[in-house]
C-alpha cells in the first residue's frame, strides 16, 4: 500500500471516529428551532407593543394640541366622568392612565402599573409646552430649526480607499475568530483523546508494526484537521437558517459586504484550513509526549502557545492595518487568526495573503516532521513523560 493511501486510510479512520451525523443534524435542528423561537418571540412582542395606550387628560385646555403621531398613545377626553370615576377606571384597567394637567410645567399621572410609555408621554407634553412657549415669544418654527441645527462634520479617509470597519464587520471578524478557536480547541480535544487514548489502550505497538510513525501522525493530523474543519463549517452553516429566518421575519442582520465575495470566502477557507493543519501538527506532537491527560501537569502548558493566537486576533481587531498586525499576519503561530480578521476588516494585498500562506505551509511541513520524530519515541513511552531535554534530542534525531 502506498504511503499516501495508508495516510488517507488513517485519516479516514480518525475522521470517522469523531464524525457523528446525528450531532450535525441536532446542531442544524437546534439552529432552526432557536431561530423560529426568536422570530416568534419578536412577533409576539410586536403584537403586544402595537396595542394603543389610552390616556384620559383632565384640564386638556392647558396643552390643547398634544401630537401623539409616531407613538402608541391615544389621548381621550373625560366624556363627563368625574376624576374619581376615572381613577376607578384606571384601577379596573379600562384605561391605561389618567393625566391631570396642573399647568404648563407639571402634571399628575395616575396608572395601575409602571408605564413603559412614560418617556413618549413626556416628549408629547414637552413638545406642546415648547410650542406654546415659543408662540408666546413669537419665535417661528423655521427660526427654531435654524438655531438648533448641528454642525456637520464630513469625514474622509486618506490611508486606504476602503472605509472604516463597520460594527457588523467587527462582529463578523470576532465570530470568525471564535469559530477558528473553537475548531482549534476541538482539535486539541480530539488529538488528546486519540493519541493518549491509544497509548492507554495499548493499541500503539500493534499499529506501529504496520505503518510508520510518520504515516500514522500524518493520518491523524489530516483526519482531525478535517473533522475540525467540518465542525467549523457546521457552526457557520448552522447560522444560515438563523440569518434566513431573521431576514424573513424582521429587519434582518447586517452582513459585511466582504463576506459575500467568493474570493474572500475562498481565502478565508484556505487560511482557516491551513491554520487547522498547523495547529494539529503541534497538538499531535504535544499529545505524543503525554502519558495520561488526566494526571499530566503538562496539559496546562499546552494552552500557552495558543495565547499568541488569541492576542494576535485581538490586536488585529483593534488595529487591522498596523505594522504589528501585518507582521503577526505573516507569522505562522498567529497568521491563522490575524489574516481572516484583516480580510474582513480591511484591504489585504494578495501578496500578503500568499506569503502568509506559504510561510504557514512551510512551517506546517517542518512541524509535521518534528511531530513524527517526537511521536516515534513518545508513543512507546508508558508511565514516564519525556523531559524537554529529551524532546529536543528526539527532534534532532534522524
Amino acid at each position: 500500500m502506498s504511503y499516501f493511501r495508508t495516510v488517507l486510510e488513517i485519516s479516514r479512520w480518525e475522521f470517522s471516529r469523531w464524525f457523528k451525523l446525528k450531532g450535525i443534524l441536532i446542531t442544524f435542528g437546534l439552529s432552526v428551532v432557536l431561530s423560529l423561537a426568536i422570530a416568534g418571540g419578536r412577533y409576539l412582542l410586536d403584537q403586544n407593543s402595537s396595542s394603543p395606550i389610552q390616556i384620559v387628560v383632565l384640564n386638556a385646555e392647558l396643552l390643547p394640541q398634544l401630537k401623539t403621531v409616531g407613538t402608541r398613545i391615544v389621548v381621550k377626553t373625560p366624556e363627563g366622568k368625574s376624576e374619581a370615576e376615572l381613577r376607578d377606571a384606571v384601577g379596573r384597567r379600562e384605561i391605561d392612565g389618567l393625566l391631570i394637567l396642573r399647568g404648563l410645567d407639571s402634571a399628575d399621572l395616575i396608572v395601575s402599573k409602571s408605564p413603559l410609555w412614560e418617556g413618549d408621554l413626556q416628549q408629547i407634553l414637552t413638545a406642546e409646552r415648547r410650542r406654546l412657549k415659543l408662540e408666546a415669544l413669537e419665535v417661528t418654527a423655521d427660526q427654531l430649526a435654524d438655531v438648533m441645527a448641528p454642525v456637520q462634520i464630513n469625514t474622509s479617509y486618506h490611508e486606504l480607499s476602503r472605509g472604516p470597519s463597520s460594527a457588523a464587520e467587527k462582529i463578523a471578524a470576532g465570530l470568525l475568530i471564535l469559530t477558528m478557536l473553537m475548531g482549534v480547541f476541538n482539535s486539541l480535544a480530539c488529538q488528546m483523546v486519540s493519541i493518549t487514548g491509544e497509548k492507554q489502550l495499548r493499541v500503539t505497538e500493534q499499529i506501529i508494526s504496520a505503518v510508520t510513525p510518520q504515516q500514522w501522525i500524518d493520518g491523524k493530523i489530516l483526519g482531525v484537521s478535517a473533522y475540525a474543519a467540518l465542525g467549523t463549517a457546521v457552526i457557520v452553516l448552522s447560522a444560515l437558517p438563523f440569518i434566513f429566518i431573521m431576514q424573513l421575519t424582521g429587519p434582518g442582520l447586517p452582513i459585511p459586504i466582504d463576506l459575500s465575495s467568493p474570493l474572500n470566502i475562498t481565502l478565508l477557507v484556505v487560511v482557516t484550513l491551513g491554520g487547522f493543519l498547523f495547529w494539529n501538527t503541534f497538538l499531535a506532537a504535544f499529545a505524543a509526549t503525554i502519558n495520561d491527560p488526566n494526571t499530566s501537569s503538562r496539559t496546562v502548558v499546552l494552552f500557552l502557545p495558543l495565547v499568541p493566537l488569541v492576542a494576535g486576533a485581538l490586536i488585529a481587531l483593534k488595529a487591522p492595518d498596523s505594522l504589528l498586525t501585518r507582521t503577526l499576519g505573516l507569522l505562522p503561530i498567529t497568521s491563522p487568526a490575524v489574516v481572516p480578521v484583516r480580510i474582513v476588516l480591511t484591504e489585504v494585498s494578495i501578496w500578503e495573503i500568499g506569503l502568509s500562506l506559504v510561510l504557514l505551509l512551510v512551517a506546517t511541513w517542518f512541524m509535521r516532521l518534528l511531530a513524527g520524530r517526537i511521536f516515534r519515541i513518545g508513543m512507546l513511552m508508558y508511565g514516564k513523560e519525556p523531559s524537554l531535554k529529551e524532546l529536543l534530542r528526539w527532534m534532532k534525531e534522524e
Binding site: R17, V203, E205, S209, A210
Partner: protein, 316 residues
C-alpha cells in the same frame, strides 16, 4: 532459497546503563514455530521491537529473507504482530476495528471485512461482529486481538503471549489455529510463559536471560544440553521404607509428592534403568515410570544457572 526467514547476528541494545539485549544471535527457519522464551526482563520485548524495526539495535544485524524482500524489516503486509502489551479500540464495533487493521496491513477494505468475518466465525464470535469490543469477555477480546494480528495471512508472525487470558479449551483451539497458520506457510515466532503449551507447539527454542542467550536449539537439543536430571516417579504402599532408595548413589534428590508417590532425580550420566532395577528389588512398588524432563524444569534450571553465571561475571 535460504531456509532461514530471519537471521539475527550479535545484536546489542543498551538503554542508559543497562544492556537490554547483549550479543544475541539466532535464526528462524521458514515455516517453523520458534519460541523465544525468558523470564520477565530477559530482553524479549526489546528483541521483538528490534526485529520489527520499531527500535534499532546499537550494533549487530537483523536480516529478513521473505519473498520480494531486501533484507530490511518487512512491511506491515508481510508481518503479523500480537504484542504482549496490547489493546484495541474498546468503543468501536469489532468488525470495524478488524477491517481497519486489515487495511493497514495492505488488504482492500472489502477483503479485510470478509476475512474478519471468516476469522470471527472460526473462533466462535460470528454473532458478536457488530458488538463493541468492550462488551466482550476478556477471553473473547483476546481472540479479536489475535485475529487483528494475523487477519492478512502474514509470512512472518510474532505472537507475544497469545495464550494469556484464554481458558484451557481456548488455549487448545489456539494451538490448532497456530498449527493451521503454519501449514499455510506462516513462520511464527512465539513468546509465552505457558511452557507446557510451548512444548507442544514449538520446534525450536531460544531461551534468554538478562539480554543473553541461555539455551538455543530444537527441543531435543535443549533437553540434551540441559543439566536437569531425569526423574523417576515411584509409588509405593503406605509405610514402605524407602531409605535404601533415598541413599542410592544414583539419586541426586528426592521429592515427596504425597500418597506414597516420590520423584527420584537421577544424577546426570546414569541410565535410569539401573535405578529401576534397584527400586524393583528393594521396595514394594505400586507404580513406577520415567517423567520426561519438562521445558518448565529446564527453563527454571537454566535461568537460575545463567543468573548465577552472570552475577559471577559481574563480581569478578
Amino acid at each position: 532459497m535460504n531456509n532461514d526467514v530471519l537471521n539475527v547476528q550479535s545484536i546489542v541494545k543498551q538503554f542508559q546503563r543497562q544492556k537490554a539485549v547483549n550479543d544475541l544471535t539466532f535464526a528462524v527457519k521458514r515455516g517453523e514455530v520458534f519460541a523465544l522464551l525468558g523470564p520477565n526482563g530477559a530482553g524479549k520485548t526489546t528483541t521483538i521491537r528490534m526485529l520489527l524495526g520499531i527500535i534499532k539495535p546499537d550494533s549487530g544485524s537483523i536480516t529478513f529473507n521473505l519473498a520480494h524482500s531486501d533484507g530490511a524489516p518487512p512491511p506491515g503486509a508481510k508481518l503479523g504482530y500480537l504484542p504482549e502489551d496490547r489493546g484495541l479500540y474498546r468503543d468501536i464495533p469489532v468488525i470495524k476495528t478488524l477491517t481497519y487493521m486489515g487495511v493497514l496491513r495492505g488488504l482492500s477494505r472489502k477483503e479485510a471485512a470478509s476475512r474478519a468475518r471468516q476469522w470471527l466465525d472460526q473462533v466462535g464470535l460470528s454473532d458478536r461482529t457488530n458488538d463493541k469490543l468492550e462488551t466482550l469477555s476478556r477471553g473473547n477480546q483476546q481472540k479479536v486481538q489475535f485475529i487483528s494480528a494475523v487477519l492478512h495471512q502474514p509470512e512472518f508472525a510474532v505472537l507475544d503471549e497469545p495464550f494469556s487470558g484464554l481458558d484451557p479449551l481456548n488455549q487448545d483451539s489456539f494451538i490448532e489455529i497456530i498449527g493451521e497458520m503454519r501449514k499455510q506457510g506462516t513462520t511464527i515466532l512465539l513468546c509465552a510463559h505457558q511452557m507446557g503449551l510451548v512444548e507442544r507447539i514449538a520446534e525450536r527454542v531460544l531461551l534468554m536471560n538478562r539480554g543473553r542467550q541461555v539455551l538455543y536449539g530444537t527441543m531435543a537439543q535443549i533437553r540434551e544440553s540441559s543439566s536437569t536430571s531425569n526423574k523417576i516417579i515411584v509409588t509405593v504402599a503406605r509405610d514402605t521404607d524407602i531409605t535404601g532408595l533415598r541413599n542410592s548413589p544414583l539419586v541426586q534428590q528426592v521429592e515427596q509428592r504425597g500418597n506414597g508417590e516420590y520423584a527420584f532425580h537421577i544424577k546426570r550420566g546414569n541410565a535410569p534403568q539401573k535405578f529401576l532395577l534397584q527400586a524393583a528389588s528393594t521396595a514394594e512398588l505400586i507404580d513406577i515410570h520415567i517423567e520426561k524432563t519438562s521445558l518448565h524444569d529446564i527453563f527454571i534450571e537454566a535461568v537460575r544457572r545463567s543468573g548465577d553465571e552472570i552475577s559471577g561475571e559481574g563480581t569478578q
